[in-house]
Symmetry: C2
Subunit: 336 residues, 2 copies
DNA sequence: GTGCCTTATGTGAGCGCTAACACTACCCCA
DNA sequence: TGGGGTAGTGTTAGCGCTCACATAAGGCAC
């Protein structure tokens, strides 16, 4: 059934060398004569030979596969991250195996990681935006290369993260700069680090401007929760500026404001986070904060590869700064 | 470096049997005494043993991994499909390896498939919504289990697909039933099978009602292209009903109509396709067609597993019917 | 008892590869 | 002239598992 293509010995025979020499060519070892190298490459091409990853994994103890653990790969953020990760990994000759989990408790995460370990992956990227994930990760064997993305900033493990705080600060500041007295915040879940970071940045910006933050409107990333919060905010005449923790929340808020006849941005300004491709086509086009998922993916993969090659752990940390994308949903507050 | 956990021989020694007996227990072979089976299981648990997938893959010629080839896993459809596929596969004890491709030409597809083949995947799911993909697939070795999703309905290979035609027909009919004389269509790319199917369904419904279809407005799935088409449609007073090939196109259309002061649904009704989670929070909430991605994933995986187990190819085919989700973006046409 | 099943278990080979080491040229410098 | 490099190549073992076969123990017919 399986396509049993040519093996290394077949290539070796055709090239008139030993299988070991073929192996050396394949792995870019020095000490192979240029002429031999060419002969081997020709034989590889002629036979359409592809090295057997399983055999290699067996003998080296690890495969050319990177495991990714993520929760909801349907969401825009994780999906983008996963795609970027896959792209980058492919360029480095690695395949990506996904292990999505329903919940981010430590049982689920551990199980997903274990599954990857069973396949002897070369390294693991965990997109672990919540507290409970961290605990699971600390119990893991220390000798497997691991990078967390959007994980706990206070835990000593290799971490790549979007600078949520800076992004939220920029969004809030942008609204203050437009002349708004204060800014309301429809947040993500506060037990998510990105949610918490965005709350923190919002709060910081307000405090720095000498404004005491108004009550938080807690959402759960979904447009539905944004809509619910929006219905409350729409009824409060003093509200002139809203920063939402992501674009989908903003969509829900916009819809609620629209229903209550509150015009955006004439009466109320709104800023989102994520810059989903559709944000430019919301009504009105949404000013938002764009995290660079490609950069995050590149950084985390680089970090992982460094660990894989050096064998050393090391609690590296890298933060990617997001950028503000100004569109039409922000204007000065209505003059009284 | 790698966590060299216990091997099968360690389990065997602890249980006082041969490694082969352990293997038999692991693979559920008959002819193992109940008592022995329990002893082996106990040893496995005690040592925390996990079978080495690489070794198994090496000897059997295939791994417990399913390769998925997809193009843009950031789009809602593919992302949902991938997530559902992963979930289902995990339940069956399979891991999922993603190989996304930038373009859907046959070079890229072949390359992605080859990469999976190198890792000796057990089977491959190709999400191949365009013509050129089909050609690449036909050249593939016949003995590797393969299922295409949203692929060419006219090609004799195992295929699972959403019934695009029926969905589009339902959407169009829904608008006609509301009293509209005709329905305009903002399409997806016509070289995508789902795009083509939705055009076909729209056309069929109109012809069945004795209406000759108005000119097609070609889009490319993006909100941006929906917006451009919407700008044209907004200027045409005779337009009262629009069916868009997906929800993002609808978002762009809604935005354009809004800018031109055309009220939805009072003046113009709009129906989308996909039912993205945000569709209920568009302005107004979007009536749309919901494909069941979970069902597609389950069906394709089932089909793949059947091939893997039986070894037989067989050109099976399964079509998943989508359902219409009625919201507020449809109303009778304005009376004159 | 002999022969021949069936059931439960063990033994040996080998999947395709890499790591470690062995070996052969050949060169350089004393 | 020989000792000791170094570049290029071959040989061997073994990663952890499954497959095919060998073996052992018991049952049942004659």
């Amino acid at each position: 059934m399986a396509v049993h293509g040519p093996a290394m010995t077949d290539v070796a025979r055709l090239a008139g060398v030993s299988h070991q020499t073929v192996s050396r060519v394949l792995n870019g070892h020095p000490n192979v004569r240029e002429q031999t190298r060419l002969r081997v490459r020709a034989a590889i091409a002629e036979l359409g030979y592809r090295p057997n990853g399983a055999a290699r994994a067996l003998v080296t103890g690890r495969s050319q596969v990177i495991g990714v653990v993520a929760q909801n790969t349907t969401l825009y953020g994780p999906a983008s991250l996963l795609a970027a990760l896959e792209q980058t990994a492919a360029e480095e000759g690695f395949a990506v195996s996904v292990g999505s989990v329903r919940d981010l408790d430590h049982r689920s995460i551990s199980a997903a990681v274990e599954r990857h370990l069973a396949h002897r992956v070369a390294g693991i990227v965990v997109i672990a935006p919540v507290e409970s994930a961290g605990e699971a990760l600390e119990r893991l064997p220390k000798d497997v290369p691991l990078v967390t993305v959007d994980g706990d900033p206070h835990r000593p493990m290799p971490l790549v993260t979007v600078d949520q705080v800076a992004g939220a600060r920029a969004a809030t500041q942008h609204l203050l700069d437009a002349g708004h007295r204060t800014v309301w915040h429809v947040s993500g879940p506060s037990d998510w680090f990105d949610g918490a970071g965005r709350i923190e940045g919002w709060r910081e910006a307000l405090l720095a401007a000498g404004v005491s933050p108004p009550p938080l409107m807690p959402g759960d990333w979904s447009a539905a929760s944004g809509y619910r919060c929006g219905q409350m905010l729409a009824r409060m005449p003093e509200v002139t500026a809203i920063f939402t923790a992501n674009d989908h929340l903003a969509l829900g808020v916009l819809r609620a404001l629209h229903e209550f006849g509150r015009r955006v941005p004439a009466e109320i300004s709104v800023v989102g986070f994520d810059d989903v491709p559709e944000a430019a086509y919301f009504i009105p086009p949404l000013t938002t904060v764009r995290p660079d998922f490609d950069a995050v993916a590149r950084a985390s993969l680089q970090m992982l590869l460094t660990q894989i090659e050096s064998g050393s752990g090391g609690a590296l940390r890298q933060t990617i700064a997001p950028t503000l994308v100004a569109r039409d949903s922000v204007a000065p507050p209505p003059s009284r």
